[in-house]
Symmetry: C2
Subunit: 215 residues, 2 copies
DNA sequence: CTAAAAAATGAATCATGATTCACTTCTTGT
DNA sequence: ACAAGAAGTGAATCATGATTCATTTTTTAG
């Protein structure tokens, strides 16, 4: 008998695994999921194409892992802001939105990949999970604010999705001209937009109903 | 000499052209741009694959035409609401947002295809054009409201993008559970969200600045 | 009816990119 | 040094789907 897995090997495999993941995350932010080609990734890692398949059974599995990595980091940060107990609900939400917005600006393609890029079914499942966690986080925070009377009553689940959508579209929608924006100002403005939306007293729905109806 | 293009033929060709476009629009709303396969489309039109190529030089060209068609219809409707002079700026904007929201709910995949689906470069160009027209429309309406004092001063271009993003994400983001929503209520709620965002007096940016800064 | 010209056809070809696998190189315990 | 068992390799294979083009069908004018 001869070969037996030793810790040296185990570590090397772990290192290779990390190498693959980190290079893949970098590529994800350059070309999105669909542009992430296995051959190119292997090349970038200094590995053969086939080697990737010793670590991940398919591109879809790799993408799912990437998705989980990218979102865990992001959600952990947002969660941290939202779970603080020192500030008011509004302040917590504003801080969390800023974090989200800044990350979106810093890594626009990743943000787009996580939020909107069409992906394989298995990855879609991961995305729904991600959206749900996100929606839950913000929805809870909004509900806390509503409970204390700090915010007006509202459909917290819809509001939380609208928050994410507003920021995502405002910041990453026009990928073409990201560089033209003053990033700090853009973050501040879009967070303010969101805070107004959830803080304001309900917009007269009588007007709304009539203006909807008469067409 | 013999064959000469006659009006009979010209009309038939026009009819075929329309057939292709309308079936393609239908498919677009089922599977998006990337799922739109030339062979399947031809089959659906009762034509041979090759015939499509007598009418459109490539799938990319076809998609560009589809994009223009879909957006022209949508933008015309929104424009109509925004250009009315009888209502207040807020009412005009609310009506236009409702129209946008309803269309998004009725044709969610098309909405997603127009707004966010990754597409070929030529189609991206069409999309930027579309976004710009949209942003212009809403931005103008917001500025009118600001000019009359009806709305507070704001970055109209950012606001208009955030409006579209908020509604899009709130309504089409969770494609999976669209059917669970009460459509009418969802439209009304997300429009209200938007109206609050642009109508409210600026959210205290002092709070914002501090909560951003201390992390 | 016939020939010329165009339109339609759809099987074959191309292009792209994921996945496989026979083979080579390493590692390890004796 | 050796044999067993992995790990790594990358060219070949597959799958998908757009595009082409030689052939067939239509249309038209004389």
């Amino acid at each position: 008998m001869a070969y037996r897995e030793t810790s040296k090997i185990r570590e090397r495999k772990q290192a290779t695994h990390s190498t693959i993941v980190s290079h893949a995350l970098a590529m994800l932010n350059e070309v999105g999921f669909s542009g992430l080609q296995m051959a190119a990734l292997a090349n970038r890692c200094g590995l053969a194409t086939g080697t990737l398949y010793r670590y991940f059974p398919s591109k879809e599995d790799l993408c799912t892992v990437l998705f989980a990595h990218a979102t865990d980091i992001e959600i952990a940060q947002v969660e941290q802001h939202l779970s603080s107990t020192t500030d008011t609900a509004s302040e917590r939400i504003a801080a969390a939105l800023s974090t989200f917005a800044k990350r979106a600006l810093r890594a626009p393609i990743t943000a787009w990949a996580l939020i909107a890029e069409p992906v394989a079914p298995a990855v879609i499942a991961a995305r729904l999970h991600y959206r749900e966690r996100y929606a839950q986080l913000f929805a809870n925070a909004i509900e806390q604010g509503v409970a204390t009377g700090e915010l007006p009553a509202q459909d917290s689940s819809l509001s939380s999705r609208a928050l994410v959508g507003a920021i995502a579209e405002a910041l990453i929608g026009p990928l073409a001209k990201t560089e033209q924006l003053d990033a700090h100002a853009a973050v501040q403005t879009s967070v303010a937009f969101c805070m107004q939306a959830i803080s304001a007293r309900p917009w007269p729905s009588a007007h709304l109903a009539s203006s909807i109806t008469h067409k």
